[in-house]
Structures are given as C-alpha cells and as structure tokens.
Subunit: 282 residues, 2 copies
C-alpha cells in the first residue's frame, strides 16, 4: 500500500512525521475523507473544495492547486489498485520550530480498503446528546478531542453516537450531520455550527424534487416532535435515528422518508460511478 507524503509516494509502513510536527505537538491540522467505489473517487471535487476551504480557514496553505491534487489522487488510486476504499487527506501545521506557529504544512494522503454495500433499508441507531460546539465548526479540523473522549459515555449508555447541542440548539455529530423530518414532511438540517458534509449537501440538493429540504434551527424540542430523524456521512450514508437519550423518535422505527432518501442517495452514487466510468472509457 502506498501513501503520498508531501511530494512523493512511499510505502505506508514508512510514512511518519517527525515529533516536531504541529499535529503531534498541538493537534493542529485539517483533513478530509471520501470513498472510492469501483475505482471511482466519489464526489471528489466536493471533498477537495472543502479540504482547500478548511485549510484556508485554519491559515494553512493548500499544498497544491485543486487540479494537481486531483491528479495525485488518481495516481495513488492506480498505484494501490483498491477498487473500494476510503481516502484520507491530512494537512498539518508542519515542523514548527517554536511548537506553536504553523509553518510549511505536512501533507498526507492515505488509503485503506472500505466496502460499503447497498441496502434497501437504513440501519437504525440510538443516540445520546451532549452540550458542546466544535471549536471552529466551519472547518474540518483534526481536533476530535471531545468526540473521542465521549466514546466511553456512548458505550456506557449503549448508544451508537452522540449529538452535539448548545442550550438545546442542535448542531452535528462528531463525524456526521443531523436531519429531522417534521410532521408536515419538511426535512431540516441545522443551519449553524455544523460542518457542511458532502452527503448533507446531496440531501439539500434534493429539495424541490418531491422533497422539501432546508437548513434551519433545530432544537431538542423539535426532535421530540419530529416524525423521523436521521444522520448522514460519507461512510454511513443515511442511518435512521430511532432513539434520542432513551426516548423514541416518532414511532420508534426507521421512517419512510429516511428510507426513500437512502435509496435515492444510493441511486445517485451508482449514477455518479457509471458516468465517471463512461467518461474514463471515452
């Protein structure tokens, strides 16, 4: 397996950073993660745009322009020859002499096998809530201090994940976005202090085509009154949230709209892959 580190492809076992790197010293960096399906880099342009935006927000310079990044990603995909995989790009604060000021970043691209099968029905999950807002929610930073620390509480409460809120206003999961479906079938995702997930974007783009989808404030009370709730992420796609802090959501089962959206999302993914393969073979 190969990894791209700064400016070259190296064997994964040999890919390391000196301890003076600002990720090791101060947890400072940004990243992005996306899937590869049938050798196609899924929604890669969306992920690259977000990666470059996260870097810019965190005052880190993108190592290469988008086109060059895309070409490196395609080279890595060919070298590793893993048709179904996850690819993670990390950009750290670099080898900082004073262990505080970001300098020329270190740039990593790594790949690992990841097969996500299609399913006609969404997985159902139980979640808990925790009062917290990510430090800089607009950026996809590598800071998961809270998310990882909360894993113990999540397990103790036999839940699958933890939803952040502040004063009852809901934002996001450590690694997923959140949606509710109201009694009048409006699909709402929190408008503030949540990362703009790529799957979240795909759901928002469905607005008008038979669905009413919008970004707005969502409170814990709104969840109690909701018909359905679900989470989205690139690896989890859509999962039905059937319980929040021990209380059932709606009728306590995966809802109709959640199920429809999962199927639409999977169709869109397959269509994206087919189109990319057609374009490639031309």
């Amino acid at each position: 397996m190969y990894v791209y580190l700064n400016d070259q492809f190296i064997e994964q076992e040999k890919a390391s950073l000196h301890i003076s790197d600002l990720a090791i010293q101060r947890g400072y960096g940004v990243f992005d993660f996306f899937r590869v399906r049938d050798n196609v880099l899924l929604y890669v342009e969306d992920h690259l745009d977000r990666f470059i935006n996260s870097a810019s927000i965190m005052h880190l310079s993108s190592p290469y322009p988008k086109e060059k990044l895309l070409s490196i990603l395609h080279d890595l995909q060919r070298k590793n020859n893993l048709p179904d995989a996850g690819i993670r790009m990390i950009l750290t604060g670099g080898y900082s002499p004073d262990a505080y000021q970001p300098v020329a970043p270190n740039f990593i691209i790594m790949q690992s096998p990841l097969v996500i099968s299609d399913s006609a029905t969404p997985k159902s999950v139980s979640i808990i809530t925790h009062e917290f807002v990510r430090d800089i929610p607009e950026a996809k930073t590598i800071n998961y201090t809270m998310g990882i620390w909360l894993q113990k509480k999540v397990k103790e409460q036999q839940a699958d994940d933890v939803l952040y809120h502040m004063n009852g206003v809901v934002t996001e999961f450590p690694r997923c976005n959140f949606f509710i479906v109201t009694r009048d079938n409006t699909i709402i995702t929190p408008d503030k202090n949540a990362l703009h997930g790529v799957t979240r974007k795909k759901i928002l783009e469905l607005s008008g085509s038979g669905f009413n989808v919008k970004e707005a404030q969502v409170t814990l009370d709104d969840i109690r009154n909701a018909k359905e709730a679900f989470l989205t992420s690139s690896t989890k796609r859509i999962q039905a949230i059937i319980k929040v802090d021990g209380q059932p959501v709606g009728n306590g089962m995966a809802g109709e709209i959640t199920t429809s959206l999962l199927n639409l999302l999977q169709e869109a993914e397959k269509e994206f892959v087919s189109k990319a393969l057609r374009d490639k073979s031309r």
Copy 2:
C-alpha cells in the same frame, strides 16, 4: 540531543511517529511542559502529577508509574546535559487501527534549550479577549486549535495574548492562567474551566503569608474594576497585564502586588533549585 520515545533514548532527528498515530489523525493526546534550571527539574512532581491526571481524564494509560517517569527524566537530563532547558512530555492516542479508538499510547519526552533570566520588574503585556472554553479544561490536552487559530487576530490587534471567557466569565489563556488584584488587594484567579497551572498553584499557596489569594468567579466587569491583572505560566512566570481589549487595567502600569509576586516566585524558584542541589550533593 536525545529524545525518549516509548521505551528508548534516540537521537532527536530520528524521533518520528507513524502517520496512523491518533495525534496526527485526530489531534488526540495530552502533554506537560516544565523548565530545567541549573540541572534541576523545576517542580517536576507537580508536573508529573498533572500529566498522569490529564492522561487519566482522557482515558489514556500513563506509560510508567511516577517514580519511573522521574528516573527517565533524570536520565534524559544527564544525557543531554542542558543546564537550562524546557522538557515536554507528550502522550498520544497511539497507532489506532480505526483512526478513532485510542490504543496503547505513544510516549515522547523531548528537551530544548531555554534560559529564563530573573528580573526585578515584570514584563507588561496587552491582551484581547475571545469567547471560548477549552473542550476539556481540566486536562492539558494537545488541542490548541483555537489558541493557534487566534494568533492571527492577536497579531492584527497588536496584542500579546488572548484571554478566553464565556458570557463574560473569564477562564484562562491558551497557555497561561489569569489573575486580578481587586481594589481591596484580594488576588483572584478563575475557579472554573481553567487548567490548574503549577505557577498558579504556587501563587495560591502564598495565601495567608501577607497576601489574600483565592479561586473565585472573575468577570470582564471585574477586570474593568481591578487594580492590577497578571498572567502566570512556567515559562513566563508572571507578566503584568496593562491593557485588555484596548482599555487600561488600573493605572495602566505593572502593579505593586504583581511585582512583589514575581520577586517572591523567583526567590521560591531559586530556593527550590538550591535545596535540590544540596540534596543531590549529599
């Protein structure tokens, strides 16, 4: 220069972590930092206690018991032979197979030259404020996402540092503790959501011996009414805060109590060093 990495002393240039480490992947880890003066490890027991406590809070297992850590630190000090230095211990979430669950931690001790000269008068600094509370304020985690991100704002406003508060209740700086001196000469440091700094502890221990020092809530309003304000840290010792968000504190100059405390702190430090050297030569 030598570094201690996991279980051995290695040359600093060769000290690196594989990219699967949870500090690089998720910014997850704890650390501590202390000074060496005249070959004496300053207040090392306080720092080791805090390091072990931070690890425990963050669900990381301390690599060695305190006595063994102490002996490794002394060995490193002898090997590097740097009479005046800073020593940083870092404990990360380890080489996590799923890039999320902490596993057996990676442990780093690194040393660099650091000479802090004594001074009869404190340095004067201007600060700005920012609404934020550290993710897990009881632990000294490696997460400095916000502190480093704010450096740009600090520089733009020609300030020296940034003080965190939430709804007007003051907590701490990214790397220092905060104190005010009220009009009736009470010395107060925030009681909640602030790291228990070792220099902060030394100041609190002075209570009774001519000073009235306590932990209590401090608000931005309290600062406006204060006679003096100062910050503390192991490397900065005590610095007088003469301006907050452009407004002078008290008479806008380093205060009498701030100056007295700096001198007492320096005396205590010298006494600690003398005692350690006497004990060593026995």
